[in-house]
Symmetry: D2
Subunit: 422 residues, 4 copies
């Protein structure tokens, strides 16, 4: 990493203070730097970011719109597969990292670059997610991670050092106030951590939320929508009041964000376990993702076989952990996805929901592939269900339990129940 | 079951039309019937029920208050163990069955009875839960389940037959209107199924809910509470505004029910998979249980080790399934509980929550056994965390991924990424 | 089952005493019976069996050679997926049931039959396997299972009753001596149970084994073979001494049976848990299957990614249980197989083994898709492995453990280690 | 690690060339070194090792006999819990590391030492196992690992450098020939890796094995033994021919090693996955452990409940992985062990085995807590098993499968079976 030769480097550049300074330090070492800006749905002025990258010295700037692939290839499969980290976090940041890293590697390949660089810190999850993705996609590509470079760390010990460096080097940076926490935003969510949030006893400040309204301020009437799924993927969202229908993945997801957010849906405040072994306080807003999560779980209720659900739910924690830890591009993820795609084949149908006061409440569901319906009930008539069968079913299931109790008694185990049966 | 001799039978008697008629038919067969009424927190006039049982002909009536053991031995461990069936149902009915069946078996033993009887139907889960518990606790005890007896089924083909039989035999039954669904209530929850709910496309009617207010009618300000846990079990609930503190298990749980219900917390509408292979629509109100569930998950965030959480969450679906299917008294449940008790040893501390508009929102947590805190952060200073370490950590984790990609390329696998590396 | 109308029935007919008598009783009830004989590799005179079925009164006889589909679609995928029931049984009988049932259902469909019949008993696993397969493939097909019909059971209370009935009705049955245990044979294995084996304290008699030599009598020199796999399926078996090469699935498997059996490979004596809740003593001979099992596990060593192996091995017990319990044709099996096929894509290569004294001993393996080889080692040179990386890897992994110990000490937990660190 | 102050260091000293040189280099840096020699059953001249440590300059030498705690606390619980890494390796080296590290930490505490040191390399598993154990037991103890210290690595690039250094510094080392592989030995096993074994296509050389005879040379008659277990732990081993009985844990295990080894039991040759992400070829001899493993699995057959076995086997791969990776002292291991101890409570009884030609063949088993026996069979008579029950059991289990097939047909899914049922 401390290589002294001139290199061509593709830097994941956000336009913020950190990556602007990183760009400059790479140039000062004599490298050629291509700035790569990934649009995964965050609110930014892309032209301005590109302009600033060029002014700072980037030889070339790529601004890449990744929103559609982010939604189609990452968000939708994750929600279909019941991806929730540690029972609560819907993985909005973790899911954005693989498409960002993939495009960065593609650009590096196209440009014949020697290295890729990122501005993630050495204590977080993102460094892992970026670097594992690079390794998986281009095993021999060099990685430059200044926030783990002792020299860089010694030089920039805090935000004031970065600001001084930027001023000194006339790096055009946006005049943003120092925030009392750090944040990440994309199409799926907004996350908050560090700073004031470091004390887990202190609740988040209401003013920091931008995607979701406070529960005090949400509308007094629900928004009624219907989501249609094919293979567990949303193919249409309809507003049941005004007749609006959206079928484009990005549009429908954005609509769920807007309406979900207006109703205060999808806030989470938790302490989670990072891959690097540290516990970390995270606060999230995931409005559209939360709505979809509830909708697809509800549809599974009528359309997924019980034992398939058991196996899927047995693997979902692994699936979630792989996403969180940065193993999207891995053979084990391919293994899980092969099974999940199989389980999603019949998850077709419509779920109607009320979005209201922080809730996405299922209000009815139907499916052509429902395992719950008239025809199957009539199967009962055809001899499918006889109350007597239940007797046999229970007695056979009870055999083991009877045997166990008899053994406990015979061996004088204290767990044996008292009994007049000797 | 078609035994013709006179027997002494302990009947689980609810005072409703079904078990009243069952009591009578058992007497008509010449059996002696002891009526056993279990108080698991449902709203009833126990004296009146006992009186009616006697008038119908029960030789003896037991009215047993099981609330405390229900809360201590079943509800609290279930919530601590993250028991949720199919991602949504907190198992209120399933958890009440084992204490009811256990006491029934104890009475049968004390009374020297030959059989136990219950009024659960042949298509539901409760028959299984009762009968597996009987088998596990008294392997050779006879079970009488009239709703699976062809003779009984032929005689009583619907509610009118039962009403006619009750009238004819002067069985004192409460004059309840025919409800468009069936319901079960106890300290933990109220459930609804069948009737109008059989169509999964139709939402539940607002008027049927009794434990939770409609989201339209909840208070405009949150109730702020603090729950204190020792070994993942709540030992105190405090209202942070009026200073009320409750420490008795039943009292504190009832308080969470009342306050949670007032804020509309804990409604679920889902299609679930019964153990007998049928999909079934269920609607639930679980106010206090839902509050506790969120609180203990939140405390785990700071106090449970990551890998312990992984293993616990790997077994939680099995734990939930065992509860749902009626295997509370089983060697496999003992296995799981032994591990869970170990995992709960350090889950001590306090969680503050706002109960508001259907949500139980964690607003801060602290714990003497927190794995997230000052001292541990200062451990970093002592050399515990070095950014450079992350480099090694990632590179070692990436080795496998690099090797896999190189193999894909060498074998010409279509999943290989394009690469200039040859 | 007690239907009184004349039906067309397809009976799974083995030519043994039981199914011969069943054939006759079905005819006596006025049904038309088509005898279906499945050749899954057992040693039989098919012409003679067919002749006897006709003489007993079958309107038609199907003798179906299922060996190739049994090997290709069932044996090979099971071994590739590490199917072992309760750590020991390679599932030879369980794997033969789905192809037998599938063909029976196909014949029933072709012949427009009303029902299928089988001769499995009411306490075993095979009844479940047959009937679940029928239900999965033709949900509304009637099933006739005389060994669970009270009338039939009352009539035939033992072998003498069957023999008397056969004699009386001039049913041509082979004059076989009464065996002190029952047995099942097919291409994959021979199983033994019941009779003398019911006492688990008594070892099996040496004379009953037919597929494997006693360890006392195996050759004094090994047979050296090489097995070549593509996608975890054997595509060639080579004798490294005489140059023989076999590539046909049935031929190569039969060869492994012959050579494996000659060397005494694949005997198992165990007490297993039946699906119907009973423990059962089983003795098995699975020579070829055991050789393949060891070979493919060995190849996985060099060619399967570690985390894929973890996930595959996490699902293998479920896979084995589904096979054992009769759920081959089920949505949950499709789920598992989708993942397993993904995991088997790179399991290509050759394993050399010595077959000797009951062992199949790997003596070397190579693979074009090996994750263990020269090129990957040279990757180390390219910066893939630095001893320093291990330090970071370990320190990051140790963070949690350090924190846990510090908490134990702070809370005065008795599990804390003594320490001078205060 | 590059600390320059004088320290008191407890070095895990084996008496071999590596740790002898490490001892010297530590002294040359000005540290005080206490040599700690762990006797886990390897064949050594302890007095000679201690003498050489002193001559080299150790201020103190501890020779600690850990055999009994190794057997009782590590080997027996591992075998009871079905610990096998990647389906084959019984974990002999991995299990010895925690007791060695624990005593080293205890000595460091007693001596008021500043650091512990070990001689494990930077690419292997042992460094991880030692350092994780140190971290878990004494979170703030300094660790010195010369084989990951760049300075040390630069100085000693191979065996010749070590030999030269030893000669130069008059370090008394045993004159051992350079071996074409490296080996580790303890009471449980002997392992081999590296050198000639690095090519997975090459079989191990017969002459390297020391604990097990070649299959060509094993006795022509079996040794017949009986092992008695209480709570899944062996409490007695009996030779059924000469009447010898051993009850001391170390003695009985050593006897199983001797007899097992004489019969060639317990060799494994495999490619395994190291925790540090590298595939590695390992060859093992584990005679006694293999015998015990087969015996306890066999006893579980009659004495362990089916569903307990399922759950135990679901966790065994995690258990094995924790052992292999070095997490013996961890909260997740405590979690698993709590469950396992519960599952082992009724695993009491006797298993008779023939040790013969590389096999430990169960020849009969009995248990006071057997779930397979007379009394339970007579339970059948008491109504426990009715063939009719199986019908109900199967029909209820088939409901899901029927519904699934009907859905496939309705949706025109290609996986639907052809059917005349429309």
């Amino acid at each position: 990493m401390a290589s002294e030769t001139k290199k061509k480097v593709v830097l994941a550049y956000s336009g913020g203070l950190d990556t602007a300074c990183i760009l400059k330090t790479l140039l000062q070492k004599g490298h050629e730097v291509i700035a790569y800006v990934a649009d995964v749905g965050q609110q930014e002025d892309w032209d301005d970011i590109a302009r600033r990258a060029r002014e700072t010295g980037a030889s070339k700037v790529y601004v890449e719109d990744l929103k559609e692939e982010f939604v189609r290839e990452f968000i939708f499969p994750a929600i279909a597969g019941n991806a929730i980290y540690e029972n609560r976090y819907l993985l909005g940041t973790a899911l954005a990292r693989p498409p960002i890293a993939r495009r960065q590697v593609e650009i590096a390949t196209r440009e014949g670059a020697d290295a890729v660089a990122h501005g993630a810190t050495g204590k977080g999850n993102d460094q892992v997610r970026f670097e594992l993705a690079y390794a998986a996609l281009r095993p021999r590509l060099e990685v430059i991670a200044p926030w783990k470079d002792p020299e860089f760390l010694a030089r920039f010990q805090g935000r004031p050092d970065l600001l001084a460096f930027a001023k000194e080097n006339r790096i055009p940076v946006e005049a943003t106030a120092d925030k009392p926490y750090s944040s990440d935003e994309n199409l799926m969510h907004r996350s908050w951590e560090a700073g004031l949030l470091e004390d887990p006893a202190v609740p988040p400040r209401e003013e920091m939320f931008t995607l979701t309204r406070s529960l005090e301020d949400t509308p007094d009437t629900p928004t009624r929508i219907e989501i249609e799924f094919r293979d567990a993927v949303p193919v249409a969202v309809r507003n049941l009041e005004d007749g609006l229908e959206l079928t484009d993945p990005v549009d429908l997801f954005q609509y769920l964000n807007d309406e979900g957010g207006r109703h205060g849906i999808g806030r989470v405040d938790m302490v989670e376990n990072r891959y690097v072994g540290i516990k970390s306080r995270g606060v999230y807003e995931t409005p559209g993702g939360t709505v979809l999560h509830h909708a697809v779980r509800d549809l599974e209720g009528i359309a997924m076989d019980r034992e398939v659900l058991r196996l899927r739910d047995m693997l979902s924690p692994n699936f979630s952990e792989l996403i969180y830890n940065g193993f999207w591009f891995s053979p084990e993820m391919d293994f899980i996805q092969a099974a999940f795609r199989q389980s999603e084949k019949l998850i077709d149908g419509r779920v109607r929901l009320d979005l209201f006061r922080g809730h996405a409440i299922p209000r009815g569901r139907d499916s052509h592939s429902s395992l719950y319906d008239q025809e199957l009930s009539s199967m009962d008539v055809a001899g499918g269900y006889d109350q007597k069968d239940a007797d046999g079913f229970i007695r056979i299931n009870a055999l083991r339990l009877r045997a166990h109790q008899l053994i406990l008694r015979r061996t004088g185990d204290p767990a044996a129940t008292e009994s007049p049966e000797g």
